[in-house]
Amino acid sequence: MGDIAVEMRSITKTFGPVTALADADLVVEKGSIHGLIGQNGAGKSTIIKVLAGIYGMDSGTVSVEGERLTDITPASIERRGVHFIHQDRLLVPTATLAEAIFLRSEPRFGPFLNRRRMNRRASELLKAYFGLDLAPTALIQTLSTAQQKIVQITRALAQDAKVLVLDEPTAALVSKEVESLFAVLRRLREQGIAIIFISHYMQEIRDICDRVTVLRNGRTVGVLDPKEASLAEIVALMIDRDTGEMYPRREGRVGEPVLTVEGLSLSGHFQDVTFDVRAGEIVGLTGLLGSGDKQVLECLFGLKRPNGGGFSVDGVPMRFGAPVDAVKNKIAMIPEDRRAHGVAIGLSVAENISLASLPQVSDYGFVRRGAEARAVDRVIEALKILTPGRRTLVRNLSGGNQQKVAVAKWLSCRSRVYLLDEPTVAVDVGAKVEIYTLMNRLAGEGAAILFLSSDLEEIAEICDRALVIYRGRITREFRRAELDSDRLLAAASGARVDGATTVA
C-alpha cells in the first residue's frame, strides 16, 4: 500500500445555521477498503456528497491521486475515476443487463449503437470480475438484489473506476450474498482499487475494512484499524455510549400462547410451518432471502392467503381475506418498507397514528376530534416521539421517529400480536436502541412479538427464542441460552448445528 487515492482535508460545510461538517478529514489509500461510520447526522452522507460534487464545500481541500481538485461536479469526479454505488439500486428495471452497465458509455458503430459489442463486453466483464455467467440480455427486473448490486459495480468498473464509494451496499442483502460481495470487493482491492465502504453494520466493517474513519457531529473523531479496536471502542467513539446499552435487557414473564401457527403452507414459498408466540415473548424469525420468512408474516397479516394449515390468536382460529381482518383481530404489522407501507409522510403525525383505530374515536362515522387528540397525545407521550406537535407532517420527523409513528398507530388498537419486519434496517444506532426498548416494553405489557430480521446479532441479543427458516421450512429453534449469531448463521444457510433443538 502507500499511495493515497482520495484525500479530503479540513472539510467544512454549513447549511444556514447548521454545521454539517466541521474540519472533517477522510484519507483513503489505494488498494484498501476504508470504512466510513457514524450515526445518522454525523456527516457521512454530507462528506460523500461533497466528494461527489453534489454539495459544494465552504472550506477544505479534496485531492484525488495527489491532484488537488477545484469545482467538483458529478461529471468531473466521474472522469477522475471516482464512482458512487448508491444505497438504492439505481437501475432501470426494464433495461437489459448490458444496457445498464454501459449506460452513458455505450459502444458505438458510427452514429449507431453497437449492441453486439455491448453485449459481448458485458458478458466478459461479469465473467472476468465476478466469475458470473449471466445473459447480457436479461432484464434488470429479473435479477436478484445482490445481482443488481453487482451490475452497479460492474458499471463503475466498465468506466475504469479507481475509487468506488459504496453507500450501505449490504442493507438489502442476506448473509450469503454479503459474503459474495465481500469476496468481490477483496479482489478489487488486490487490483489496486480504493473502496470507501459506508455501513451501519459493525460486524461487516470489522470483517472487510482495513481502516475506518469515524465521524461524529461533523468531525473526524478517529481513524483506526477495526481489527485491532474492539467493537465497544468503535461504538463508544460514535455515540459516547457503552455498548452494554446497545441491546437493552429485559426480565419478563412469559405467559400463555397468543399466536399459534399450525401447519401453515403457501405453495412456492413455505410448507408446514408450526410455531407459537406467547404473551410477553419476543420470537425471532430469520432466513435467507427467498427462504419464505417474509411470506409467513404476510400470511399472518392477511396480505397473502395460505393454502394449507392455519393459525389462531388466543385460541380463536383466524381466516383473513385482507389486512383489515388482521387488524380487527388485534394483529399489528410494522412493515419493512416504511415509506410505502408504514407511514404516509404527507399526513400529520395524528392522522397516521389514528389511521388504524379511527372507529374507536368516532361516532356514526364522524371523527370526535377531541377524543382523537387526547388518544394521539397519550401515545406520543408514551413513546417519546420527538415532534413539534401532533399536526406536524411525518415528513419532517427523523427516520427513527417515523418508525415510532409506524409502531404508535397500533398502540391505540391494543394489539395482541406484533409482526415486525426488519424494523431496524437503515436506522442509526441510537434509534435502534430505542426500537429494541420499545419492543421490550410491548412484550412487558403482554403482547406477543414475532420479529423478522436478517441481522443475526440483534436476533441473538433481543429474542427469547428464535426460529430459522430454510427453504420454506422451519429447520431449527433456538432457546435463549443457545442463541448466538454464529449458530444462527450456520442454521440459516442450511448447515448442521450441534447443540440446537432440531425441529422436525
Binding site: F15, V18, G41, G43, K328, A340, V343, N352, L358, G399
Partner: protein
C-alpha cells in the same frame, strides 16, 4: 438530514406565497372586471352567474375533489353527467313521472361509477386509464342510443312540469339548484373533512400502501369514492337537463377540464395543499367570474377558452412550481 430545518422554513413561506397569490389573483380579477366590465356588478348578472354558471360545474367539481383527494382522477365525469341526463330525459319523454326520471338518471350515473370501481379494484387498472376507457365506451353508448348524437328536445308544454319543478322552483326563497348545491357541498364537506371516510381518502391520496397496511378496506373505499363522484355528476346531469329541457349528447365533456382546474385551484389555496371543498367552490367561482367578465368585455367564446386555459395553467404553475420543490 442536517439541512432539513432551514429548507422546511423556506418551504412554508413559499407555500404561503402560493396561497395568497391565488387568492390575491382572484380578488384582483374580480376588482378588474368590476371596474372595466360594464354590468358585471349588477345584481342580475351576479345572480345569473351563480345560478347558471356556478351550480352545475360546482357539483361536478365536488365529485372531482373527492376523487383527486383519494389520489385518483375521473375522466369519465362527462359520461356520468350525460348518461344521467339521457336516461332522465328519455324517461320523461316516455311519459314517466319526474321522480322516476330522477331515480333513473341517478341510477345510470351510479352504474358508471360502479364500472369505474370495478375496473380499478377488480382489474387493477389505474384510475386515469380506467376512466379514459369508460370515456370512450360512454361516447359509443350515447352515439348508439341517439343515432349518432341527435339531441332530444322536450320543449313542448306537456313536458314542462317535471323540469320546472326542478329548475324553476324555489326553496326558502332560493332557487332549487342553489339549494341542491348547498346540500351537496355540506355533504361532501362532512364526508371529506369530518368523517372517518375522509381520513381514509386522505391516506389513500398520500400513500395507498399505508392505508392497506393499516387495515383500511381500500377497494371498498375506492368504490365509495368513484360512485360518490358519479352520483354527484348524476345530480348535475339532471339539473342540466331540467334547465335546458333537453338532452344534448356528449355535452358533459365540457365539465372535465374546468372541474379538474377548479379542484387544483382549490388545492393551491388550501392550507394543507390537499383538495378541499371550500377551495374547489372558490375555484369554480374564479372560473365563472373569469368567463363572465371576459364575455362582458367582449371576448368571444373561443378567446374565453384560451383565457381560461391560460389561467388554469398559471395557477398550476404557481401551485406546483412554488410549493412542490421538495426535490
Amino acid at each position: 438530514m442536517s439541512d432539513g430545518a432551514p429548507r422546511a422554513k423556506s418551504k412554508i413561506s413559499l407555500e404561503a406565497v402560493a396561497n395568497y397569490a391565488v387568492i390575491a389573483a382572484f380578488a384582483l380579477l374580480t376588482l378588474f372586471f368590476a371596474v372595466v366590465a360594464e354590468g358585471f356588478l349588477t345584481a342580475d348578472n351576479l345572480f345569473n352567474l351563480v345560478v347558471n354558471k356556478v351550480v352545475l360545474l360546482a357539483i361536478v367539481s365536488l365529485g372531482m375533489t373527492i376523487v383527486i383527494a383519494a389520489g385518483g382522477i375521473d375522466l369519465s365525469v362527462g359520461v356520468s353527467v350525460d348518461l344521467s341526463s339521457m336516461v332522465f330525459v328519455m324517461l320523461i319523454a316516455a311519459g314517466y313521472a319526474g321522480i322516476v326520471g330522477v331515480i333513473g338518471g341517478l341510477a345510470a350515473a351510479v352504474v358508471v361509477g360502479l364500472l369505474n370501481a370495478f375496473l380499478i379494484n377488480g382489474l387493477k387498472i389505474n384510475a386515469f386509464l380506467a376512466t379514459l376507457g369508460v370515456l370512450f365506451i360512454g361516447k359509443s353508448a350515447q352515439q348508439l342510443a341517439t343515432q349518432g348524437g341527435v339531441p332530444i328536445y322536450l320543449t313542448r308544454e306537456e313536458y314542462a312540469a317535471p323540469f320546472d319543478a326542478i329548475a324553476r322552483s324555489e326553496v326558502l326563497g332560493l332557487p332549487t339548484p342553489v339549494v341542491v348545491l348547498i346540500l351537496c357541498s355540506l355533504a361532501v364537506y362532512l364526508a371529506l373533512h369530518r368523517s372517518v371516510f375522509g381520513r381514509y381518502v386522505a391516506a389513500l391520496g398520500e400513500q395507498p400502501g399505508v392505508a392497506r397496511y393499516s387495515g383500511v378496506r381500500v377497494p371498498l373505499q375506492l368504490s365509495f369514492v368513484f360512485v360518490g363522484c358519479a352520483f354527484l355528476c348524476g345530480i348535475t346531469g339532471i339539473l342540466l337537463s331540467a334547465t335546458v329541457k333537453s338532452y344534448v349528447p356528449l355535452s358533459g365533456d365540457a365539465f372535465l377540464l374546468d372541474a379538474i382546474g377548479a379542484t387544483f385551484i382549490g388545492t393551491a389555496i388550501s392550507a394543507e395543499r390537499r383538495p378541499s371543498v371550500l377551495g374547489a367552490l372558490l375555484g369554480v367561482l374564479m372560473l365563472a367570474v373569469m368567463r363572465n367578465g371576459l364575455l362582458l368585455i367582449g371576448w368571444n367564446f373561443f378567446w374565453q377558452q384560451v383565457g381560461i386555459g391560460v389561467l388554469i395553467f398559471l395557477v398550476l404553475a404557481l401551485s406546483f412550481g412554488l410549493a412542490k420543490r421538495k426535490e
